[in-house]
Symmetry: C2
Subunit: 426 residues, 2 copies
Amino acid sequence: MNKIQEIAREMKLQSPLMAASAEHVRNQALSMIKDALHAHSSEIFAANKEDLKAADENGIADSVKKRLKFDETKMADVIQGITDLIGLPDPTGKELLKRQLDEGLILVRESCPIGVIGVIFEARPDALVQISTLCIKSGNCALLKGGSETFHTNRALFSVIHDAAVAAGLPELCLYQIEAREDINALLSCEKSVDLLIPRGSNAFVQYIMNNTKIPVMGHADGICHTYVDVDCDIDKILPVVVDAKIQYTAACNATETLLVHRKIAAEFLPRLAKAYAQNGVTIRGTEEVQEIISCDMATDEDFSTEYLALIISVKLVDDVNEAIAHINCYGSHHTDAIMTENAETARHFQQLVDSAGVYQNCSTRFADGFRYGFGAEVGISTSKLHARGPVGLEGLVTYKYKLNGDGHIVADYASGKKTFHFQDL
Amino acid sequence: MNKIQEIAREMKLQSPLMAASAEHVRNQALSMIKDALHAHSSEIFAANKEDLKAADENGIADSVKKRLKFDETKMADVIQGITDLIGLPDPTGKELLKRQLDEGLILVRESCPIGVIGVIFEARPDALVQISTLCIKSGNCALLKGGSETFHTNRALFSVIHDAAVAAGLPELCLYQIEAREDINALLSCEKSVDLLIPRGSNAFVQYIMNNTKIPVMGHADGICHTYVDVDCDIDKILPVVVDAKIQYTAACNATETLLVHRKIAAEFLPRLAKAYAQNGVTIRGTEEVQEIISCDMATDEDFSTEYLALIISVKLVDDVNEAIAHINCYGSHHTDAIMTENAETARHFQQLVDSAGVYQNCSTRFADGFRYGFGAEVGISTSKLHARGPVGLEGLVTYKYKLNGDGHIVADYASGKKTFHFQDL
């Protein structure tokens, strides 16, 4: 057993204590974390300067450095996030069902923490704070591995958070930080101790995690999102939407990568689209049919399976909403797909038949996000259909158990017919 | 692509139509299946006789033959089950959340079918009827593989069920029966088309499935259930419970395999237990300490990791409830575990800290069952913590999607501060 496996095993042993910790203790821990982050802010900012210096030396792109930076503004944001989290109701200990099976035999389905969660996330110091506090609020123990570009900041933040949590009365191994990249593989082998893995990051990275562990994985590898422009759309209304869906943040998983256009509206819509995209620096890759209407690059079949994460979009014509649905269900990644139409029946049909976590009408695919759904912080977006789907907040970090309380009840009495069940929801 | 992969792929293409089928069409299909089973009962019973004849020739045990048999009584049972199922509310299309994010931007979380489900189940003709009708009710397409000992009965039942479902208007590939055992491996390779696998059967078989597919698996491999006899128990009350938990149906996953006994009550309890078990043909395997009090076989550490599925039970003494909890969380399979105590605080502590799908007080572990919980038919019992846990009925066969309907809403307006979200649950 390697070191990470030993720690995970010990964390698993402590996880029932974490799960049974009182709500006020968990909220107290969050409150003490807030205070400690305040008190230690100068050390944390100093650690972050080291990371930023290393980023400069390694020629890291400015867009990435913006995410690495952890300053007074970001500190204020994460502290506000913790304040919000304290105010949310306890996701554990909720009675989801209460049923009398027979006299004196009471069944309760009650929400409870999942147990031990492993989270591997990108180089963003605020992510470490969000994820660790979400796990504390939901009564889960967590193994955290952040991006190596924020090594110093993460170490400073983790030490402050962990010490405050333990001081509040939570188990020593409520949280553990994994620092070495090579320890990720050790984490993947902890299927006996870790109940859930949440990997965030590049498509290839998440795919690697999914293919190399027996632990259940929640997340999404790719985000090939579509916007379908129907014949019944209001072009003036939806032109800004298809622009927003592509350009508002190209690196996001919920940015639109493919535009499907109804053949009957193509001649009117595509020239206006080409103009709007040209103004925003978007390169169009169209099929032959598209090229007959506007001047653009050639799209191959591979384009429709590509998550560009860049100012490029593939465009294809379709006969009707059904061809759009078939294309999306075949090429998409079941993340978020939108229809632009004023026809309520067509929209209903599309939203019913597209097999994705998010199915939208007349708005940008970029709305797929826990904050924008009003869930508070999210631990990730899931394209799996089991457990949690779409943006996942606190409720994705809990499961449930059945508590059955009797008074000497035996099954033989019901099998023999001596007694019968009298189900009554309480 | 082999034949099963091709069929699964085609089923996946048809699954959105199945998912979008109206509730009345699915109920109509169930109603027509009832009628067709009635109408074709003589063919079905004749097919069953062939299976029973083969079982005789192959020297299949009587207990197994009882499960293979499909006669008027079992037919009446499954038809009653379908009638009950028709009466249950539609598990799909339920609004789980409805929230206005901002003016004109409405988010709905709506339950929907999972899509394509593969079920591999034991040689029990009634299981084929139950599983196929649960999948129809929940709008899922299903690939079914039953035990080969009921080959002829399954073929007759499936043909009747499938034809009735299609006649009612459901897609041709709403259901497909896999008959050859070697096609199970082909099914395991269908991760692009199959959303969920539900294997039922022996520990080794389910473990094999779990280890040889990338498809999410719902179910349980083993059921090492415990009953802990606390110092504060009422021996007269709980003696029948520990007998029932072991003997009522030894082959079931929810039968108790290990008894943990508080050291302080052992001298009084164990002799009475030994007598009760002796009367019921149960062999006790005890630790050295146990052997000092009663005469019994020796238990090794391996016994506490063994699912006997027989009239054998391992017995061990513990210092207190915490040692019992630690033993259960370490050796158990997170299925169902019970405490026998009159002390409400001890029970609460046990039910909070034992990390199992079912945590019971003063009743038999054998109660862990969808029918006994009042769920109607179950597709299986899950020891996974994600998605569905414990006995799983209709609600384990659905997921949800987010529908977002707007009117030209773009994210840029919210990112720039031009607009702000106004969350309001509707």
